[in-house]
């Protein structure tokens, strides 16, 4: 019930923002109608552009899903390795610090040159964006595992598969998941860059394309569509996260 009340406030704020937009664009002449198109034009663009947006959604997912999957596998796998091997981590951490803040756009020419298809190059660019938060989150998660868990692990002699799957991964899961959340949001930003070459459609492509022609009614329609998709994905992710971290929210009877 509390939740519902909370979200109704969210909803009213959204309605209010749209209201302000409608008022300014349709009833005043404060702003240029090309850059700030009225809502009716945006809706029109949304309806006209919808088939393209849907097509874009499908093709963007074709890039995002493998990229996120790859980031999860290599990010968590690599994070586990370097989180547990202090020596290797210390040797390579200068590289981590150097490469992780680089914008993925820098890698576009190399991705195009080295990978056989444009699609793989796009996936790679997305992967670079999503990999670091997951990888660094995993390393951080392992570094911050409570000493009690290590003590228990040691006295019980937990080794091998159980060590990874029953101790290290669950214990570092909060940080891995927060890294994954960052990666998800970041990958939508990077999607714009990843669809700058070779893509005939896509959520990022759509916005970028109409920005090039300064057709802002379409740009805004694309942004609204993308926001809805992103919101849906984030909500779904939060649900999954809550399920994985269920043990943090248990109440004793």
């Amino acid at each position: 019930m509390l939740k519902l009340k909370q979200y109704s406030i969210t909803f009213f704020i959204a309605v209010g923002l749209v209201g302000i937009w409608v008022y300014i664009t349709s009833f005043t002449s404060w702003v240029n109608p090309v850059i700030f198109p009225p809502v009716s034009k945006i809706i029109d663009a949304f309806v006209k552009g919808f088939p393209d947006l849907l097509k874009g959604f499908v093709s963007s997912m074709g890039l995002l899903v493998p990229a996120i999957f790859l980031s999860l596998v290599l990010g968590i796998g690599g994070g586990l390795f370097f989180g547990l091997h202090q020596k290797s981590r210390e040797i390579l951490s200068p590289f981590f610090h150097t490469f992780s803040p680089l914008p993925p756009t820098l890698f576009i020419p190399y991705a195009i040159a080295l990978l056989p298809t444009f699609k793989l190059a796009s996936i790679f660019i997305l992967f670079i964006g999503a990999f670091w938060p997951i990888f660094l989150g995993t390393i951080q998660g392992i570094a911050l595992i409570d000493n009690h868990y290590w003590d228990n692990t040691k006295t019980l002699g937990i080794k091998g598969k159980d060590f990874i799957f029953k101790v290290v991964l669950p214990a570092s899961a909060p940080y891995i998941l927060s890294g994954t959340g960052t990666a998800l949001i970041l990958s939508f930003i990077v999607l714009m860059m990843a669809e700058m070459f070779g893509a005939q459609s896509g959520m990022g492509h759509f916005v970028q394309y109409y920005t090039d022609f300064s057709q802002y009614d379409y740009v805004l329609a694309g942004i609204i569509f993308n926001s809805i998709i992103i919101l849906a994905i984030i909500v779904a992710f939060e649900k999954i996260k809550k399920r994985i971290l269920f043990w943090m929210n248990l109440k004793s009877e």
Binding site: D146, H148, Y149, D151, N152, K154, T155, L156, G157, I158, K159, D162, K166, V167, P170, A171, A173, W247, M248, N249, L250, K251, S252, E253
Partner: protein, 279 residues
Amino acid sequence: MVETIELSQKSEKEALQNKIEVKSVHFSYGETEILQDINLEVKEGEFLVLMGPSGSGKSTLLRMLANLSQPKSGQILFDSPLDLAVVFQDYSLFPWLTAEENIVLALKQKLKKTKTKKELQQLAEQYLTLVQLGHAIKKYPGEMSGGMRQRAAIARALSVGSDLVLMDEPFGALDPLTRIQLQDLILQINHDQKRTIVFVTHDVEEAIILADRIVMFSPGPPGKVVDVIEVPFEKPRNRKQLFNSQEFVEFRDYLLGVMNKGVFEKLNQSEEVSSGEGI
């Protein structure tokens, strides 16, 4: 030169009369000396309590017995390669596993692959029933009270077949009633199952109820063993009778006296230092 000495579990076996012998063990944390020249032994089947005010290094000694840290110098000798289990004040269990899964995880490591999953689960259930947690097998630590969690931790310690159970203030965070119940439980286990128990506490009454012998630590740093005292009461002990007896009161006062003496000395020392600074 720092001499690191591995826990030797073999060579001096014949010479060893006791389960564990701690010989002139020192431990320091950076510049601070935590434990100074500790000598003591743990006898087979006994209930040994390490007692002292906080900061006396008793928990540090327990960690060294558990092989979680190494002495700076000195030796800790075990009579045979032994299974030991540790029960901490809290956090003994992994919160993402149920009581049963926690025990199965521990059992799997000890028993390697000799038992099926089903058999492991049955064993886990047996031990949980032993500590009166038969109803909470599928519960997660987050769903249990502090007392239940410690019961489950004890069940896990017992399940791995440990000859030696090390307990680091395991009942420190519990309410008085639960505390008494768990004290009785652990006494019963010590008696019935002939497990050797090393138990850390700073509660005098708890020490008297539980211990066969009490090792008294001086307030650190550095912590030192001031005295090792036999508890002059027959086991099993009747809590109510004991608490009302004159002998108990005298013994308790004696222990407190020993402990307070160290505390007062410590306080005087620091007063001298501060007054010295004042001039």
